[in-house]
Amino acid sequence: MSEPTRPAPPPLPGSPNQPPPLGAEPTARKRFTPRRFTGANYIDFFLYASAAITYVSLSIYNKWLLDWIVGPVWLFAWVWGLPALYKLMRRQPIRPQRGPVGERE
């Protein structure tokens, strides 16, 4: 609940996790593969699609699932929770590693 002129918040989601290394070429990003062709996007698509298929299939016969809290939580649990579980099993941190505000740019 805030206006942009309020005190600086913690780093915004969607910002780069780490500042670019010193001396990095500013144009290097242009050589990256477009996002829509990356493996991460296929994983996202699979997660969203599987969340929808499982939720619809189960909720047709268990209608208590068709609730405005359960629905969004289901998506969140599927799309964020499953990858987080996978990371936990591989002993990787699941909390995002965002730098302080001053280090973002």
Binding site: M1, S2, E3, P4, T5, R6, P7, P9, P10, P11, L12, P13, G14, D44, Y48, A51, A52, Y55, V56, S59, I60, Y61, K63, L66, W68, G71, P72, V73, W74, L75, F76, W78, V79, W80, P83, A84, I94, R95, P96, R98
Partner: protein, 305 residues
């Protein structure tokens, strides 16, 4: 009442904000504005059973949209009061205007069922209804009959309409849009959540309402037409019959409350929709100085206190 339409509206309103409000009006406020009327009134409409006794409204339609009842929760007057409260409390135009637009979308959409809403409350307690489909929440039928009736009537078309409105503005669901237009309007909330969840999780939270809308539309329609085996007029059927006629479906009782003639409802609703956008536009700039002063004063108090 409308079902998934209310979930899709949230994104439709966000996608069609006036240019000067883009990335400044809170999406979360639009969400809470759109959901508040049913937060307040819906639970008691269906009620619940405990120890063989039903607790809930004896006349769901009267409770939901009538006066006396919780019909006030579906009036622009009530939405304006809540907006005044938000403004008085936080002096935050991002939330005040967002809530107003979300709330108005809900109230104006609900004129479509046979009960409608009290658009001109408190000046009139007459309901404004287009009678597009039958309001079907009953004590006996509960949520299931309500869903079956809605997804067998023009209500289903209404949901599809809003679904395609959002699809027509599909960028509103993209990560880029969320990052550049939604997060900046609520930096503190998203940053706070961002301490625990990565962008994939935050984006899932943002898209969750749309996901729920799509899934409930598919699930209820599938159940009503492929799974349910209702008995209608003594005849056992495989699925509830479709009826896309005005005020359908024919197999539920068409309940009404004292209302204005239907032919005036559409023009008045459109005028009110335009009026809400006009008012939001007109007060947006004026609220800026109030917001800035309140924030400056709060900062001074933080430093000194």
């Amino acid at each position: 009442m409308s079902w998934a339409a209310h979930q899709f509206e949230v994104y439709a309103v966000q996608a069609h904000l006036p240019k000067k409000m883009v990335a400044k009006v809170s999406w979360l406020a639009i969400f809470f504005g759109d959901f508040t009327p049913d937060f307040l009134a819906k639970f008691w409409v269906y009620g619940f059973n405990y120890n063989g006794h039903h607790y809930g409204a004896t006349k769901p339609y009267q409770w939901h949209r009538g006066w006396p009842g919780m019909g006030i929760s579906h009036t622009l007057f009530f939405g304006a009061l809540v907006c005044l409260g938000i403004w008085a409390w936080k002096h935050n135009r991002a939330w005040t205007i967002g809530f107003l637009l979300g709330f108005a979308a809900h109230v104006l959409t609900d004129v479509n069922d046979s009960i409608g809403t009290m658009l001109l409350f408190p000046f009139s307690t007459l309901n404004w209804s287009l009678h597009t489909w039958a309001y079907a929440a009953t004590v006996k039928g509960g949520k299931y009959l309500d869903a079956a009736a809605y997804y067998s009537s023009l209500g289903a078309v209404m949901d599809l309409f809003w679904f395609f409105v959002v699809l027509g503005s599909w960028r509103v669901l993209s990560k880029e849009y969320w990052r550049t237009k939604v997060v900046p309007a609520d930096p503190h909330v998203w940053s706070w959540l961002g301490q625990w969840f990565d962008d994939r999780g935050l984006l899932a939270l943002y898209r969750g309402v749309f996901f729920y809308g799509v899934c409930r539309m598919i699930a209820w329609t599938t159940w009503a037409h492929l799974v349910a085996k209702p008995v209608i007029d003594g005849v056992k059927r495989n699925g509830y019959p479709w009826d896309l006629s005005w005020t359908g479906p024919w197999w539920v009782q068409h309940v009404t409350l004292p209302h204005v003639p239907p032919w005036v409802v559409l023009p008045v609703t459109l005028v009110l929709l335009g009026g809400v956008y006009f008012v939001a536009n007109a007060i947006w700039e004026r609220m800026e100085s109030g917001s800035t002063k309140a924030i400056a004063w709060r900062n001074v108090r933080r430093k000194t206190g």
